[in-house]
């Protein structure tokens, strides 16, 4: 039927799928028995997550001293991981909200998992500020402005760390609600297909009585739009605020006004890289090549090359400003980055973040899943090192050379970093097993057959989402 439409616009779903095929494809993966690959992934990531949690318990019991930090370098892996994961958490909302507002229909097959990734990344991110506190058992409470009986004991509204608390909790709640609203129609489908009473109960509860009436769809579309509108500024504000942890300090290398846009670009860059990593895995292992097409990959590649170049520009600007400022402290901080004891991390960062994405100017490479996968790993590594470079190289040699010190991370820090990946992937594996990994309600909306149907004005067909529900 596709020949009725513009041949210039490539179809978003390949393989000539019918709507029923789509429902079966997506729901099938959570209804049948999980594959061996899923079991392995789930178990391995679960064990790694468990290792991470136990390490965290040990660290909280013994003290921050189990990390390699010192009087000069007060933050190391902890805040590096935090900023890294927050950055990862940016792509999901960007894909769901910003691309939604810009009517980028290709987003539909990836937005659900991207959003889930966002939530899990923000969870991992939130973990690190909690455990990096010397006394997390009271810190998690005291960092919140709650009414108390200890006189006017209040949080410090001037502290960027407090802004972080607000920014991240807001971002997490909005993202969660936005993601959940998008899930409701799909959950209802799963509910309707469920045979076992427990599944019926579980998905029935989650789908909140969705019946697919036009009224429901009307409310759904409106609220989805509103939340997209609410989430969009957050994509830009969260990382701007995170960057202010550094930008508002007096430390050479941190005290930089370029940080908010630089961090946002970096966050989108790293977020897209991580989405790419996950989707390429999902695409291969779960047979989703018809949904996540090479066009998707190419679009993502384009975003990466744009944001990667922005990040590169920011590195250059920083260097220029250090020289132009005339401040010897500022100049030394950047010379030290590129030539000091941590120069290796700086050059890893530059090669991974600036040089490697430039290969994506070639269309062939943008459409090569294997190349993109390797590239996305490079970007992930590079972006982790970007945060490491900013935090550690600025701290370890600041104003007074008498206090200059080196930083040697301990195995506890490394295990917690690996553990956070375990937690992230474990949650992701749980997600693709329990919830529809692709927003099939929305995918159906961007299928050419759906549009044709609308144009041919043949209502009552079981191919509309609402009819689909009633039919099942």
């Amino acid at each position: 039927m596709a020949h009725h439409y513009s041949e210039l616009r490539m179809p978003l779903v390949h393989g000539g799928k019918t709507m029923h095929d789509i429902t079966n494809d997506v729901c099938g993966s959570i209804e049948g028995k999980p594959s061996m690959l899923w079991w392995i992934g789930w178990m391995v990531s679960g064990l790694v997550a468990l290792m991470g949690v136990l390490t965290i318990g040990f660290q909280i019991y013994k003290g921050i001293g189990t990390w390699g930090l010192n009087k000069t370098v007060g933050w190391g892996f902890d805040i590096t991981n935090f900023v890294f994961w927050i950055g990862i958490g940016h792509a999901g909302t960007l894909i769901s909200a910003v691309l939604f507002l810009f009517r980028q229909k290709w987003r539909t097959s990836i937005n659900r998992s991207a959003e889930a990734m966002t939530l899990f990344a923000v969870m991992c991110a939130g973990l690190f500020p909690l455990i990096h506190m010397g006394r997390p058992w009271i810190g998690f409470l005291w960092a919140a402005p709650y009414p108390n009986l200890r006189g006017p004991l209040w949080v410090n509204i001037r502290s960027p760390l407090l802004w972080d608390v607000f920014a991240i909790s807001t971002y997490f709640s909005i993202s969660l609600v936005f993601w959940y609203i998008g899930l409701i129609p799909d959950l209802a489908t799963v509910r309707d297909r469920a045979k076992h009473w427990a599944r019926k109960f579980f998905y029935g509860t989650l789908s909140m009585g969705w019946r697919g009436s036009v009224r429901h769809w009307n409310h759904y579309e409106t609220s989805y739009m509103i939340f997209a509108g609410l989430a969009t500024p957050l994509v830009f504000s969260v990382h701007s605020i995170v960057s202010m942890d550094f930008a508002t300090s007096v430390l050479p290398g941190w005290h930089t006004t370029i940080f908010p846009p630089y961090f946002v670009a970096g966050a989108i860059f790293s977020g897209f890289a991580m989405v790419l990593t996950l989707l390429l895995i999902a695409r291969e292992t779960m047979n989703l090549k018809q949904y996540i097409t090479e066009d998707h990959l190419e679009n993502m590649g384009k975003v990466i090359i744009l944001t990667g170049s922005m990040v590169g520009l920011a590195y250059g600007t920083e260097m220029f400003m250090a020289w132009y400022s005339g401040s010897m402290y500022e100049q030394y901080a950047f010379i030290n980055r590129a030539t000091g004891p941590f120069a290796w991390s700086y050059w890893i960062m530059v090669s991974c973040n600036v040089i490697s994405p430039q290969t994506l100017w070639f269309r062939k490479l943008r459409r090569s899943p294997i190349f993109l996968f390797i590239m996305s790993i490079f970007v992930n590594i590079g972006m982790w090192f970007e945060r490491f470079v900013i935090i550690v190289t600025s701290l370890h040699r600041d104003y007074l050379p008498s206090s200059w010190a080196h930083y040697y991370p301990t195995h506890v820090e490394i295990m917690e970093l690996i553990g956070s990946f375990g937690i992230f992937f474990f949650l992701f594996f749980c997600f693709i097993r329990l919830l529809p990994g692709i927003a099939f309600g929305e995918v159906k909306g961007v299928m050419k057959m759906g549009q044709k149907h609308k144009h041919e004005e043949k209502p009552g067909n079981d191919q509309t989402p609402a009819a689909e529900v009633s039919h099942a």
Binding site: K62, G63, I64, G65, G68, L69, N70, K71, T72, G74, W75, P129, H132, M133, G134, R135, P136, I138, G139, W142, A143, L153, W154, V155, N156, R158, S159, P160, L161, L162, V165, D245, T248, S249, V250, L251, M328, Y329, Y332, P341, L395, R397, D398, Y399, L400, P401, S402, S403, W404, A405, H406, Y408
Partner: protein
């Protein structure tokens, strides 16, 4: 203090539990509680002064004049080294908590060194012997109580002493009553007394015996000296009486309060010492060449001591220095730490030639701070070898460890039939003896001293004995058969003093002052000629490295190796802690292919010492510098556990470092790399200021022309604010540190550590750069060519040959615009209305953001729970301060507790604290009074005046932190260098540091 023997109490050691128990019992009435604790506290204080076997019971009424919780100060004498400075022991509720210099003491005038400040660790050290010790315990020993054990020890000793041919080997004993006790012991037993000092000054005394007829160490008067030329005499470090000398020296270095001139200080030395680091000019001279330089100078002063050997100092410099000495005349002073008696004779000749005797050094009254006699010791060793000694009594010495031939001594000791030690510890020597009469800590017993002839001082107990120990003097009296004296040594001492020393002063007055100064002018012996100085100008030859050993700045001669505070103190110059080291010039290191952290073996003959290589720019070439005092194997758990935060003691770790004493007389030896050293605990790894204006300096010549010299701000701070500045209506506390006076001695660090309950963290943690010191002394090397240390890189070799050194005490700067305050999410750090940056430990959640944002890096984080492994050590904790828990940030509070104390005391009289009434711990102990604290709002206060001094500046003022702590530029009394002159010619605004002066 007045002694009231009618007051009784329970055991002091039980005090804390006692207090807790009482609190529970009498919670019904606060008044009751106060009564009981008051009695207990007073009783405990007094009980310390009573003899051992008086039974004590709780009092029923609070003694007049004693309030629980209020500290009292008792005058006493520091016994950490033989300088014997006067102290005031701060005692609270029956336990001493802090040693401070006695401000009324003519010798140290309130100052105290690192060792003196750290003495309370020795008192509370749980590794001390808790009672008498027997190598082969007689039957029933373990079941016996302490009294029975002492009785059987005394009986055994009495038997041993009857064997005849008794020798008593001690360190310096200069107290008149103490010497009377020794005399009594010797008379009774026929013993001969031999005294020696591990780090001896005997050559000085021996030289004076030859040149002046009396084996005396002169009392040096650096306060009279306009030109000081020192040959390896570390008189600001630990030479004879360092606190006194530092204060004297500082008198002529102080450019505050309108003074315009300062003394000249020239140092010739082989290693870089703190004294050399503070000198105006410094020459690197190997020990072997020292005699040649001395001869050269003496010859140019008019002597004829033969042709001097070839040495490294340019003739023009020698000529210049000789001219300066000649001009100074009797205001000149030449000192030397040399162990060569001929060189010391030459020194005496030079001083006599200058007319310095009676002016800058005095033979009457003379010093009695090092009474050790090396010749008597050699004689004793010969006697031991011949087997003539039947009974050897050792008191307070550790020859097995600290003699160059300690191993030999151990063999000789084994051959002595009866050996008795009086010691605090079962140390290397005592543990080889048959018996150890466990000795009181210095703070537990009565004693007297005479550090300078005619200057008598008392030491009084400030705590009841913690364990079943006995003062050495009591032991000696007991063995001399004087049971009365042995039972109540105070009575013996008082009787002796009343008869011989007090001369009309009441005993109680003497006790409360701690000092009786009866120094009188007397005819000093005259110079009789230099005597035998043949060949003094020859340069000793030798292969390989010249081995230079020095008394460690931290551990004394090794006696204090079990003191964790001292072990963690960094060496002032190489900045290493918890380790000995083989320091050498970076050029030598480069030539020999050695790098910092290489483990080397220094070998001379059979003697070896393994140590990690550290850089010591300014050391002479081909010289390896080894500190003495490390390598103790019997110094308690500190040396086995490296101070680590666990009870786990590494059995492989026998000691901290290797003993360098066997090499102390070697002269020359080889240095071989044998491996690499694991985790070299350096507190500072970067030596250069990188051209940053942090510790500023200038030359006197420049400063005379322009008082802002060296203190021109290239970038004045821009003070832009949206808010109205806070108006400090009451006090505004501030501090000014004079870099010109700081000698880098670390005393402030130790005073702060003791005062503020700052924990030690151990070697591995220091290696991780987690030391907790609230105040530190930054040490920067500057190229004498003027390029501020360019080319020095972390851990890399440097071209610095003879750097100029600047010390900069760095503590919380209490910034008005504090970067730490804005970033704390929970307002755990905030600004007080008196200008202090306050840390609220209870509120802190430990994000460490404040530490990251501190440009001065003075904030310290509790990485772990730093608790004392033994609860006895908790007695040293200052109850005025919270103990910080794991995960909490801490830092200098400018001794907030002392400020509150001072304000409270003044409030009683409805006044404000007077300037100088409140002293911070660092300020109080500073031997040179480089630190001044006070109210900046009081325009007449010293701090406010110094704030207006043209030398005043704030560190990194351009970022507008507006610190309350400011510094005064260091001024070096040497000709200006070309680049410094160039600075003077540049017209520059006197950008000040933004203070409202």
């Amino acid at each position: 203090m007045e002694i009231r023997t009618d007051i009784r109490t329970d055991e002091l050691a039980d005090m804390p539990e006692e207090l807790r128990a009482e609190m529970e019992i009498s919670s019904k009435s606060r008044r009751d509680f106060m009564k009981v604790t008051g009695m207990a506290a007073m009783g405990a204080v007094i009980a310390g002064c009573t003899a051992q076997d008086i039974t004590v019971k709780p009092m029923l009424r609070k003694p007049e004049g004693v309030t629980p919780g209020v500290p009292y100060e008792y005058a006493s004498t520091c016994q950490m080294c033989s300088a014997n400075c006067g102290t005031w022991m701060k005692v609270r509720d029956g336990r001493p908590m802090k040693a401070e210099g006695n401000r009324d003491h003519p010798q140290n005038q309130g100052g105290l060194c690192t060792l003196g400040q750290a003495q309370l660790w020795n008192l509370y050290n749980p590794d001390r012997l808790h009672g008498p010790w027997a190598k082969e315990a007689p039957a029933g020993w373990d079941e016996a109580d302490a009294r029975q054990q002492w009785a059987s020890l005394d009986a055994a000793v009495a038997g041993a002493l009857k064997a005849g041919s008794v020798r008593l080997l001690t360190g310096t004993v200069n107290g008149p009553a103490a010497r009377a006790v020794i005399q009594q012991f010797c008379d009774k037993t026929g013993a001969r007394h031999v005294a020696y000092d591990a780090c001896s000054a005997w050559p000085i005394a021996a030289a004076h015996r030859d040149t002046h007829g009396h084996a005396r160490i002169p009392h040096y008067r650096f306060d009279n000296a306009e030109v000081v030329v020192s040959f390896d005499a570390d008189f600001l470090g630990n030479w004879i009486s360092p606190v006194e000398f530092a204060r004297q020296w500082a008198r002529h270095r102080d450019l505050r309060f309108g003074k315009k001139s300062m003394s000249r200080h020239i140092q010739f030395e082989s290693r870089l010492s703190t004294t050399g680091a503070c000198a105006d000019e410094r020459f690197r001279v190997r020990n072997a060449e020292r005699g040649a330089v001395l001869t050269d100078i003496a010859n140019r002063l008019g002597g004829s001591f033969g042709e001097p050997g070839k040495h490294a100092v340019p003739a023009a410099d020698i000529e210049r220095i000789v001219k300066e000495l000649r001009t100074a005349g009797r205001l000149g002073l030449v000192v030397s730490g040399s162990h060569d008696v001929k060189q010391q004779r030459l020194i005496n000749w030079i001083n006599d030639k200058l007319g310095a005797y009676g002016s800058t050094l005095e033979l009457e009254p003379y010093s009695q701070q090092k009474l050790g006699n090396d010749e008597a010791l050699s004689a004793l060793l010969k006697e031991l070898e011949s087997g003539a000694v039947k009974t050897l009594v050792l008191w307070g010495v550790n020859p097995v460890f600290d003699l160059p031939n300690g191993a030999k001594f151990k063999e000789l000791l084994a051959k002595v039939p009866n050996k008795i030690a009086i010691s605090h510890h079962a140390d290397e020597t005592a543990s080889e003896c048959d018996w150890i009469a466990a000795e009181d800590d210095a703070n537990e017993g009565w004693n007297d001293f005479e550090p300078i002839r005619g200057l008598y001082t008392l030491a009084q107990p400030t705590v009841r004995r913690l364990w079943d120990t006995r003062s050495a003097l009591q032991s000696l009296l007991k063995w001399a058969g004087d049971n009365d004296g042995a039972r109540d040594y105070r009575a013996f001492l008082q009787a002796y003093w009343e008869k011989n020393i007090l001369a009309g002063m009441a005993w109680a007055t003497a006790v409360s002052l701690g000092v009786r100064d009866r120094r009188e002018p007397a005819a000093a012996p005259a110079f009789k000629g230099a005597g035998d100085v043949a060949g003094v100008g020859n340069v000793a030859g030798g292969d390989g490295f010249e081995i230079v050993t020095f008394e460690s700045y931290n551990l004394g001669d090794g006696k204090h190796a079990g003191n964790g505070w001292l072990q963690e103190m960094p060496d002032p110059l190489v900045r290493a802690s918890w380790t000995n080291f083989a320091a050498m010039s970076p050029i030598t290191m480069a030539n020999k292919g050695l790098e910092e952290g290489d483990l080397v073996e220094v070998k001379a003959g059979d003697a070896t010492c393994k140590a990690p290589v550290v850089r010591m720019p300014g050391a002479a070439e081909d010289v390896v510098v080894l500190p003495l005092g490390y390598g103790r194997t019997h110094a308690g758990r500190i040396v086995h556990g490296m101070g680590e935060e666990s009870d786990a003691v590494d059995p492989e770790r026998k000691s901290i470092g290797d003993n360098a004493y066997p090499l102390s007389t070697a002269g020359f030896g080889s240095v071989t790399k044998v491996g690499s050293y694991h985790r070299l605990a350096l507190i500072q790894t970067h030596d250069s200021q990188e051209g940053r204006p942090l510790a500023k300096d200038t030359a006197l010549e420049m400063w005379k022309q322009d008082q802002h010299s060296g203190n021109h701000h290239e970038i004045p701070p821009v003070d832009v604010t949206l808010w109205k500045r806070w108006e400090y209506k009451g006090h505004k506390w501030g501090m000014v540190v004079d870099l010109n006076l700081c000698t880098g001695c670390n005393a402030c660090m130790m005073a702060c550590q003791v005062e503020n309950n700052v924990p030690i963290v151990g070697k591995d943690e220091v290696w991780r750069r987690r030391e907790m010191h609230w105040i530190r002394i930054d040490r920067y090397f500057e190229d004498t060519r003027g390029d501020k240390g360019k080319g020095i890189q972390d851990g890399k070799q440097t071209t610095l040959e003879n750097p100029e050194v600047v010390f900069q005490p760095m503590m919380c700067q209490h910034c008005e615009n504090a970067p730490c305050e804005t970033v704390c999410p929970v307002i755990a750090t905030s600004h007080s209305d008196e200008g202090l940056n306050i840390q609220t430990y209870n509120r802190c959640i430990g994000t460490r953001y404040c530490a990251n944002n501190c440009p001065y890096k003075v904030r310290r984080f509790n990485w772990f729970m730093y608790k004392h492994r033994d609860l006895t050590m908790n007695l040293v904790l200052n109850p005025d301060l919270t103990i910080r828990s794991q995960g909490v940030m801490e830092k200098c509070s400018m001794c907030a507790q002392r400020i509150y104390d001072g304000k409270r005391a003044s409030a009683l009289h409805k006044t404000k604290p007077k300037d100088g009434q409140i002293l911070t711990a660092c300020q109080q102990t500073c031997p040179t009074q480089a630190i001044v604290f006070g109210d900046q709002n009081d325009k007449d206060s010293v701090v406010a005046k110094l704030g207006r001094d043209p030398r005043n500046y704030a560190v990194i003022a351009e970022i507008n932190t507006r610190p309350a702590v400011t510094y005064l530029t260091k001024v070096r009394n040497r000709p200006a260098k070309p680049h410094e002159k160039a600075e003077l010619e540049k017209p520059q605004a006197h950008g000040h540091d933004g203070h409202d002066h």
